[in-house]
Every structure is written in C-alpha cells, then in structure tokens.
C-alpha cells in the first residue's frame, strides 16, 4: 500500500488523465464491458425464461376419454367420474388424474360439469338429496344445471363436452377452468 502511494506521488498515474482521448477510451471500454455482460445474460436468460414459461403456451392435446359404459349410469343420477389427463408426466402419480361430475339426463343424453368452483377452484360436491352442488371453501352453491344458486361464484360451473361412442360415455379432456 505505502509503496503504491509513494510511486503515484512521483509519477502521475496515466489512468487519472482527463484528456478527451482517455475519457473516450474509458467510456468505450465500460460500454463494451456492460454490453458484453448484457449479451451473456441474454444468451443464458432466454433459454431459462423459455423453459419456465413454456407451459403457458403449450396446449396439451384434447382427447376423448371413456369413463365407462352407458349402462353404468342411472338416468337422473349425478356421479363423480375420473379419467387420465392427456399429457400426464410419468412422475405425476395421482395428480395425473382428473375428476368431473357426470349426470345421465336421459337415455342417450349426458352432461358433465367441472369439479372446480368458479369462485376459486375448490372442489364442489354434489349433494344428491338437496339437488345442489356445494363448495366447501367459501360457501358457493350451484343448482343442478350448474347455475349459481348462492354465494360468491361469479358464474356457473363449467361444462365439459361429453358424448356417447360405441356404448361408452366419453368426456373431452379440458383445461381447468380459470374464471
């Protein structure tokens, strides 16, 4: 330390000169250094951000999933059915399954409701004797047709496409409804 001080007293440190040329050189060097850092952040950052936000843009395939033969369901009854997600990851375990409420309205006519409450996504329960869907979280209540009956839900239960194919009831896998 003391040696350095002694030296700088004897001869002027060229780095401290303030001629326009030296100033320009320093501005240029700091500019190019910051620019290079920015470039490094860009080439490493783009794949990372792309990796993280990819699920937003990925549309999983929508497939018809069989939930059982028509004969399994009684006309008028509303029951829970479960089926596999279309793009379940190998390590998804039980979370690779989805549920829906299915009602057989007539011989060939079915209707399927999302189990997610339109308020905040909690699982609604069908209470058969009351003919109502009830949500355990904030008390949202829906009529049998999925319309809001009471509580905070802003709109009715989402319906999923459902069809009868070769004697089987099939539900079209659908994204969780986001209000």
């Amino acid at each position: 330390m003391s040696d350095d001080n002694a030296q700088s007293n004897e001869t002027e440190n060229p780095a401290h000169r303030s001629e326009p040329g030296a100033m320009l050189r320093r501005t240029f060097l700091s500019g190019i250094s910051l620019g290079l850092c920015g470039w490094a952040a860009f080439i490493v950052g783009v794949p990372i951000i792309g990796f993280l936000v990819a699920p937003i843009f990925k549309e999983p395939p929508r497939l018809w999933r069989s939930v059982g033969p028509v004969s399994k369901f009684k006309v008028g009854d509303t029951v829970e059915v479960t089926y596999e997600d279309t793009s379940a990851l190998l390590w998804a375990g039980v979370t690779g399954k989805t549920a829906a409420w299915l009602r057989r309205k007539s011989d060939q006519e079915f209707v399927a409701f999302s189990v997610n409450c339109s308020h905040l996504g909690c699982p609604v329960r069908w209470v058969p004797t009351a003919h109502l869907f009830m949500c355990p979280c904030h008390g949202g209540i829906y009529y049998a047709n999925g319309n809001v009956a009471a509580g905070p839900p802003p709109r009715g239960l989402t319906r999923f496409p459902v069809r009868v194919q070769n004697g089987n009831v099939e539900i079209l896998t659908s994204p969780a409804p986001i209000t």
């Binding site: 390590w91 905040l120 355990p136 994204p175 986001i178």
Partner: protein
C-alpha cells in the same frame, strides 16, 4: 499462545476481519433503543432456523407429485427427529411472519422509515412480500390434498388479473391443470429462487442499517429535517451512543434465543402440521384451508360483497404494495413520534384488528356448508309422523341444514331457525324458501308442493318452548 496470536494476526492482516467487526458489530447505537428494537433481528434468527431445518428436510423430501406425500409421511412418522424438524420448520415460518409483521408495525409507528432510511423500509417491504410468498409456497410443498386445491386457489386468483390472468394462472399450475410439473416448480421457487432473493435483500437491508445508523427512539416535537438530520445524528450518536455489540445486541440475542427455544418446545410438543388426505384431485371430499397466517385472507374472500371481489383480489395486494412503496417517498420528513401522528396509530390498530377479526371468522368459517351435519333427532323435531315430522326430515335432506342451524344442529351461513316460527308467518317462510336470497338458493324449482308444505309446517312449529 504466541503461535495462535501469530496466526490470528496474519489472518487479520490478510482479511481485515477485526476492522470489519469494529465497523459492523461495533457501530454506535443511539441511547434508549429498548426491547422494541429486537423484532428485526428476531425475524433474521427465525430465518436462520428456516434455512437449517429446510436444508435438513430437503435431504429427505422428494419434490415429485408422485412421491412427495409419502416422503412427508416418512419424515413425520419414521425418520429420526423428522416430526420435530417439520414442526420446527412450520413454527419457524409462523414466527417469521408474525415477527416481520411486528417489525413493520414498529418501524412504521416510530417513523423509522423517514429520511435517511427510506431504502431500509423499501428493502424491508420486499422482504415482507418474499416472506409471505415463502409461507404460501411452503404450505404447498406439504403436498397433500389441501396443497393441491390451494394451487388451484392461487391460480384462480392470478386469473383475475386483466389480460395476462390466464397466462399467470397456467404459469402457477405449470400447465393447464395441477399435474406432474406443478410441485417441482414450487419446490425450485421455495428452495432456491426466493431464498436467494431473501439472502440478497437481507444483505442490503443490514448494510443500510449500518450505513444510516439505527434510528433513535422518536421524541415528540423533534421532526426530521432532511438538511440537518445526518449531521445531527452523527454528532448525537458519537456523543451518547453505545457500540451495538454488546450494549444493544444482548437484547437481540436474548430475545432471539428465547424465541428459538419456544419454537423448539412447540415443535417438540405439538410437532409437524397435520397431513390431510393424499394429493389426489379426484378425492372431492376436501376442506381446503390455508395455514393460519393466510386464514384471514381466506375469510376476506368469503365475506367480500360479491361484486367487488375481482377488484379486491387484484387491486388489494397491488394497492398494499403501492402504499408500502409510496410511504417513505411521500412522507420522509417531519414528526416521527407516533403521538404526533395519530393516524399512524389508527392505521396499525385498524390493520391488526382487521387481521385478527378476519382470522377469527376464518377459523369458524360459518359460510362453509356443514356437510357433516347429522339429521335432526326426534327430540328436536318433536313429532314422529305427519307434515312436521316429514318437514324435519327434509330440513336435513334438502340441504337446509348445511347452512341453517336448529337447536345446535347444522351450519351457520344463514340465520338460526331454532325459533323461526316466532318471527315469521307460514307465508313469509314460503316466500323465502321459494325465492331464495343473495346467499340462499331458490328452492321453488327443487321442492315439490307437498315437500314445501311439509317444510313450512315444520319451520312454523319452531317456536320458543
């Protein structure tokens, strides 16, 4: 001894350790900082507990949607000390949230955010948000049924943000529904990303505390003048201050160690938070509830007038954040003493009253349907046949009991109907049942005429005995 001394001197010369120690631990603290000043360091102590217990837990926990639940069961039931460690991590999180809340209230009440400590406050505000996010993501790593539905609840709330809501929701879910990618995402945030931010911001926060000095206890009638404060503070602290270590630090150490002892005792006797059912989204029998520190917000979302809810969900947190940012920018001079800022006392009282009352409501959750309510016994119905008897059966089966209470049976969403016959006539009861109300379904299209008559006959008979 001489050898040790030699090694120390060599080390100190190369590192400047004692110089750093003198400037940090030895920095002068104004007189009169008492026990009110311990909550920041106590939050830090709780954070250290979180880091060490978190690292220990992460050595067993498997962040996969398939096996996380079973590793949690293993940690809680079989692993040596696992039950205590999970409990300690839980109570440590609780302590962090509580202590940072008290620390923010204290610095706000004492006007410590004013010049020159505006950035102390702002970095602290960032830490407050990060701590709450850690609390929420931590609850999700307890990958049980409640965690799965909590992810949906978070995604739905994010979905209310205009324009980018859906993208945000899918970002949180890591897909278009909860699945294999959801948990690892939260794990990475909870274990790497957010803690890294917290470490960084704690560093800046502490650096600023030393650079700007610990705020002196405010005195009414001694306002902060941005032109003279620094010089005044330097002089005052040089004249009357004590070195932080040990003159002030002993309180921080005493309180921090006391808190950690309490945490260990709680973890020992109460242990890890209960695991609910497995994380199977097809088990629809669920009662999703946040951990206690977010229970007040859960209650708020149930009690808000329905129309303003989307605005509150988005603008509420945004507005709160904006207030935290604007406070030191708009009000960085003037009186610091709470006695000259009565509205500050009001704000703090209002805030804590809101949290506590909402918390009590959230604990009771009267808006939640009483799914488990038992049918009314004969002693309550007071009839064994006829319309009153049938109406009493219907009261349970038609769903009335989910929200209404009679003689201690049923829910609490709607009015207690134990003595409804005293207040309403048969016609009035009929109108209410048929048409419903804001928070009651219209049963006109659900009940048959006979059922309606039976139900009304039963309710009419509910009179004071």
């Amino acid at each position: 001894m001489d050898v040790l001394r030699y090694i120390w001197e060599l080390f100190d010369d190369r590192t400047g350790a004692s110089e750093v120690w003198k400037r940090t631990a030895g920095h002068l603290v104004p007189p009169g900082t008492g026990w009110w000043y311990v909550f920041g360091s106590a939050t830090l102590a709780a954070f250290i507990v979180q880091v060490v217990t978190g690292i220990a837990l992460a050595s067993v926990y498997t962040p996969s949607t398939e096996s996380a639940y079973s590793t949690l069961q293993f940690i809680s039931q079989q692993a040596a000390w696992g039950h205590l460690l999970r409990g300690l991590h839980y109570f440590g999180a609780s302590a962090m949230i509580l202590l940072i809340g008290i620390h923010v209230s204290r610095t706000y009440l004492m006007g410590s955010y004013k010049y020159p400590r505006e950035l102390n406050w702002l970095t602290g505000a960032v830490l407050l948000v990060l701590v709450v996010v850690m609390g929420f993501t931590g609850q999700l790593l307890r990958w049980d049924q409640i965690a799965v539905w909590s992810v949906y609840i978070a995604a739905e709330q994010a979905g209310r943000v205009p324009f980018v809501g859906k993208a945000l929701a899918h970002f949180i879910l890591a897909g278009d529904q909860v699945g294999g990618a959801t948990l690892t995402r939260f794990f990475a945030f909870h274990v790497f990303f957010i803690p890294a931010l917290i470490f960084g911001f704690i560093g800046i926060h502490l650096y600023l505390v030393i650079r700007n000095g610990i705020s002196e206890p405010p005195k009414p009638g001694r306002p902060v003048d941005t032109r003279t404060y620094r010089a005044w503070y330097e002089k005052m602290v040089k004249r009357e201050g004590h070195p932080f270590w040990p003159s002030a630090a002993w309180r921080d150490v005493t309180f921090g160690v006391g808190m950690i002892t309490v945490l260990v005792i709680l973890a020992w006797f109460i242990g890890a938070p209960h695991l609910s059912r497995p994380p199977d989204p097809t088990i629809l029998k669920a009662e999703p509830r946040p951990d206690w520190y977010l229970l007040w917000y859960y209650a708020l979302l149930a009690l808000l007038p329905h129309g303003i809810e989307p605005y509150v969900m988005v603008l509420g947190p945004l507005g709160f954040g904006l207030l935290l940012i604007l406070l030191p920018l708009l009000a960085n001079k003037g009186e610091r003493s709470a006695w000259r800022r009565p509205w500050a006392i009001g704000v703090v009282i209002l805030f804590w009253t809101m949290i506590v009352t909402l918390w009590i409501q959230g604990k009771k959750a009267p808006w939640s349907p009483a799914f488990a309510a038992k049918p009314l016994p004969a002693s309550v119905i007071r009839a064994s046949s006829g319309p009153v008897y049938r109406g009493g059966q219907l009261f349970h089966s038609a769903g009335c009991e989910a929200c209404h209470n009679i003689a201690g049976y049923g829910g609490h969403r709607g009015p207690d109907l134990t003595t409804v016959g005293d207040r309403l006539t048969g016609d009035e009861i009929t109108i209410r049942i048929v048409n419903g109300a804001t928070n009651m379904p219209a049963f006109g299209g659900i009940l048959s005429a006979k059922e309606l008559n039976d139900l009304v006959a039963f309710l009419k008979s509910r009179k004071t005995q």
